[in-house]
């Protein structure tokens, strides 16, 4: 039902974007209001609820033990997955992970993994035998676009809390007891843009994503690195446009980092 009104609004969004305007009155390079809440899930080793405008995402971290990969016997690892719950949007359907969900999960995963924020060697318990794997699962609860950035912030917040459970002599996790915390060397922030009617828009809403010709995400760190990029959807960007977006992403990253590092 809502999808029809969307069709109608999409053409409106494109028309407005051509003049640099947006349906919700924001400027093209303006982000929606970000609110964060942490530690709600008593069963998780870290949890966060992130709202970006009307988009709401919840995320949680579970620390599990496993055998290290043969090519990196002295390292642990992380795994991040996204789910767009049918709860969150009338267009979402139940079922196995869709391509869209896989892409969101992987972009968020790379944005954190490749920034080397987490020292995987510190997640090793016994070389070649046992290491920690940090599983983050995040869920769209209400989806009004840009699950990428909301999910990335939520995942990062989970790692920032990251409690490491205590093991008994049989290597089983002792519930409710912890030996320490994960250390983060950097705080990589993912920033996503779309191109609508030739105009670049920061932090797109659901309708803007539907109206988009192309999408670009970049993960930036406080010490001037970019950790991961992803261009998505059919359309294209000029190199100059990418430069512009990177410039803006560093600025956005700074603001978001200031907000989350207070916690």
């Amino acid at each position: 039902m809502r999808s029809t009104i969307l069709e109608y609004e999409i053409s409106k969004v494109v028309e407005m974007a051509k003049e640099g305007k947006r349906l919700d009155g924001r400027k093209a390079d303006e982000m929606r209001k970000l609110t964060i809440e942490t530690g709600f899930a008593g069963n998780a080793e870290g949890s966060a609820r992130v709202r970006l405008g009307e988009t709401e995402v919840v995320a949680g971290l579970k620390m599990l033990t496993g055998v290290p990969y043969p090519d990196s016997p002295n390292e642990g690892s992380i795994s991040i997955g996204a789910e767009l719950l049918p709860l969150a949007n009338p267009d979402y359907e139940s079922g196995p992970p869709s391509m869209v969900e896989v892409e969101i999960g992987r972009v968020v995963d790379r944005g954190i993994r490749e920034s080397k924020a987490i020292d995987f060697s510190k997640l090793c318990i016994r070389e070649g035998e046992l290491s920690w794997i940090g599983f983050i699962d995040f869920y769209a609860i209400n989806s009004d676009g840009n699950i990428f950035d909301a999910g990335a912030i939520a995942a990062l917040l989970c790692f920032m809390q990251g409690k490491i459970p205590k093991l008994d002599e049989k290597d089983k996790i002792i519930k409710g007891e912890f030996t320490g915390k994960l250390e983060l060397k950097r705080l990589p922030i993912l920033t996503t843009f779309v191109k609508v009617g030739g105009t670049i828009l920061l932090d797109p809403t659901y309708i803007e994503e539907k109206a988009a010709e192309a999408r670009f995400s970049v993960s930036t760190t406080e010490d001037g690195f970019m950790a991961a990029m992803q261009k998505g959807i059919g359309g294209s960007f000029k190199a100059g446009e990418i430069d512009e977006m990177i410039e803006k992403a560093f600025e956005v990253g700074k603001g978001v980092r200031a907000k989350i590092s207070k916690l």
Partner: protein
Amino acid sequence: MKEVVVPGQIVSEDRKKLGSNVYVANGRIYSKVLGITDTEGEYANVVPLNGLYMPVQDDAVIGIVSRVVFAGFGIDMNSFATSFIPKSAMREELRVGDVISAKVSYVNELREADLDFARKMQGGEIIEVTPVRVPRLIGKNASMLELLKSGTGANIIIGKNGRVWARDGDIGLLKELVSFIEANSYKSHLTSTIEEMLKKKKKLK
């Protein structure tokens, strides 16, 4: 007395005729919905807080073309069933996303609506409202609608299905007024309140 009730709550202990959104069990009248009671007349009614549009014959509606097939057009009515207009009944070609105004000519037992007098709307904007609150936007003898028209200078068509189509005039002001009416739809004297608001904004003399 007007009261807020939840589904299953007693609306009236008295013997009254059954109005809308109520049911009878064990000789008592209960509410079917979350809403506000209206039992002053001979009927026991509950005005719901929320709810889908249920088409009724002769309703004026604003539809959006959701599908184009060989024989005609599927029309999204903001209801759970899509309506259909045969190509023979339309003078203009329609495309997906086009807005039409129409009248409900017939509703069948599956609550699917047939449409009549369909007309394509050129330009303009759609403001969405909760369908159950549309009557307040129209007012007694269309008094509210007339006030909105003269106050904002806009062309306005109100669809019973929770869509207001408007063009020209002060659309921003119209949106503000519509959301005010929606939020205050249980208050009396709404028309005079809106009149006051418009006077303060010097939109009315």
